[in-house]
């Protein structure tokens, strides 16, 4: 899918001399081919309660723009996720806008008049019953259970949440995948390790002010550049964009402070018409998605193929991959 760089047309493949084709090295599937061959059982449905459907104003050509966000499941960031469903159900997100687009960093949306250095009006009041989430919730504890396998008579260890996906070591420490999400394993000195989601491309986080503020969920952003992993454990991550990312990543960059649209370019703010929890939509309008189980053998093979590209375009494999280059496959289902 993303292997050939200039072109990958059939005509080009045929242009390779036949002798070279015959003497070819053993062929390895590309990561995309491994995913395409995954058995149906390796795919896990995403609950409609975990999907947000965000409808932007149509583009300059009048074409509709829809973004689908998958919210993080328990045990991660659930205080903020609670608030986000509450904002959506109170229709508080309706008629807000994209107010900040900073190149190689984030696209951020919310009330254009709330805590915006380029505000042009008064902020709208927040809904009731919002949770104030403590900073400690940036980190998630996990439990370890050991039991005897009666057949093999060997001790088996498992964790809750599961941490049985491929392990990754990169500049930011150890990480893995759990229930379809990239998860860092942070080891504070003299304390048990704890978990946190990682700031990869397309992940959605909660804008906040200076500590101890952790943000309510009124301001959300998504990563549109190289993973800003220094934000891990410093800001809440609550989900990821699983469809329509291009509607957020290709917006004009803001010229104001931090990439906010300056006062004289307020017209560039993309209006957000509605944000709905998918389970609140009529059944015929509910989108459905599934992700490749990160605990499956297919995912392990996929991660290995990404770290060691041996499909025809490649000459020397990298021998490794950071957590954000191993993107969890998500697909729409009918």
């Amino acid at each position: 899918m993303r292997t050939a760089f200039l072109a990958a047309s059939a005509a080009l493949a045929l242009a390779i001399p036949l002798a070279a084709q015959e003497a070819a090295k053993p062929t390895y599937p590309a990561p995309s081919e491994i995913v395409a061959a995954a058995p149906k059982a390796d795919w896990t449905a995403i609950p409609a309660e975990d999907l947000l459907v965000m409808t932007l104003a149509p583009d300059a050509e009048g074409k509709p723009r829809q973004v689908v966000i998958q919210l993080m499941p328990a045990p991660f960031s659930q205080g903020w996720v609670h608030n986000i469903r509450l904002f959506a159900r109170a229709k508080w997100y309706d008629n807000i806008s994209v107010n900040r687009v900073q190149d190689n960093y984030v696209t951020q949306w919310g009330d254009p008049n709330y805590d915006n250095p380029e505000a042009t009006g008064k902020p709208k009041p927040l809904p009731d019953r919002l949770k104030v989430v403590p900073e400690s919730d940036y980190l998630t504890r996990y439990s370890v259970m050991s039991s005897m396998n009666r057949q093999t008579r060997q001790m088996v260890t498992r964790t809750d949440p599961p941490l049985a996906g491929p392990r990754v070591k990169d500049a930011y420490g150890d990480s893995t995948f759990s229930n379809g999400w990239p998860i860092g394993i942070y080891k504070p000195a003299n304390e048990p390790p704890v978990l946190h989601p990682t700031h990869c491309y397309g992940m959605v986080g909660v804008g906040r002010n200076y500590s101890p503020d952790t943000g309510s969920g009124a301001e959300l952003y998504t990563v549109i550049g190289h993973a800003p992993r220094h934000l891990d454990r410093n800001i809440a991550l609550v989900g990821r964009v699983i469809e329509g990312m291009e509607h957020l990543s290709s917006l004009p960059r803001g010229k104001g402070e931090l990439g906010f649209y300056a006062k004289d370019e307020a017209a560039k703010r993309t209006p957000i018409l509605t944000v709905r929890v998918a389970s609140d939509l009529a059944p015929s309008e509910q989108p459905a998605f599934e992700y490749l189980s990160t605990e499956s053998e297919t995912f392990a093979a996929y991660a290995d193929a990404i770290a060691n590209r041996r499909d025809p375009f490649f000459i020397t494999p990298a021998g490794g991959a950071d957590i954000c280059n191993i993107r969890v496959p998500v697909r729409r289902v009918q």
Copy 2:
């Protein structure tokens, strides 16, 4: 510069209770503040011969769009860099276009009819005197020299090119900086280590077909998403975008194969009017840039601050950074 997430207005800072301000922890400068305080001697001028000025057609509002690319200096990728200057001086790049924009990957430009699965016409002939560069040039050897410091009477080791910048270890191995560029240090089995540039955001590379083709420089791309480091050592890197990146990163994504604009969206191809080597322009039209020396103490402090953010927005520092998150500061000078 990029620290505060929601807003960083003076009004907000004043809203923090005075008691909290007084009891503040020792303050650390943000990476951007370290760069702003760098002495003039830490900045190195970029030769005009190494600057490409690419003028795109004006945007929908009629505003001019200019992109400046810095070409890599010796000893890296000089065969392709030779070709790129030759293409520019033959005016071969004039009236080509951006033909591919793949989200979280690359924006690619060239002759829309050359090796493009969505081609709508015939390719234009290539100029004469292009070099055919071998795959071995993806890698660069370096030499090590030892000498005695007569004052301290200690042995001093230096390399050519210099590798005296901060060292980084990430999922892709060891890397550092040399003369202003991010450089991987690759250690093949039973052979001396070799160098190669790294595929970071904004880096510019040479499109190619299947090996042993290495590309001529007719097709160029820049990285617009998370660093695709698996391309290191598999494709030539020849430079980086140092101004106007937003004109390439915010373009509409292509719906064709690999993000090429499909035949029915050929109108989305952004025309490239001209590409000039800056030293060929009239002196009054030559842009001038300088980079923060990666061998300076300022750069070492900057890299450390990125890996260990302690400026006020942050709660827990990352304790590390990958090579692509330590972006070499480049600035325009008059």
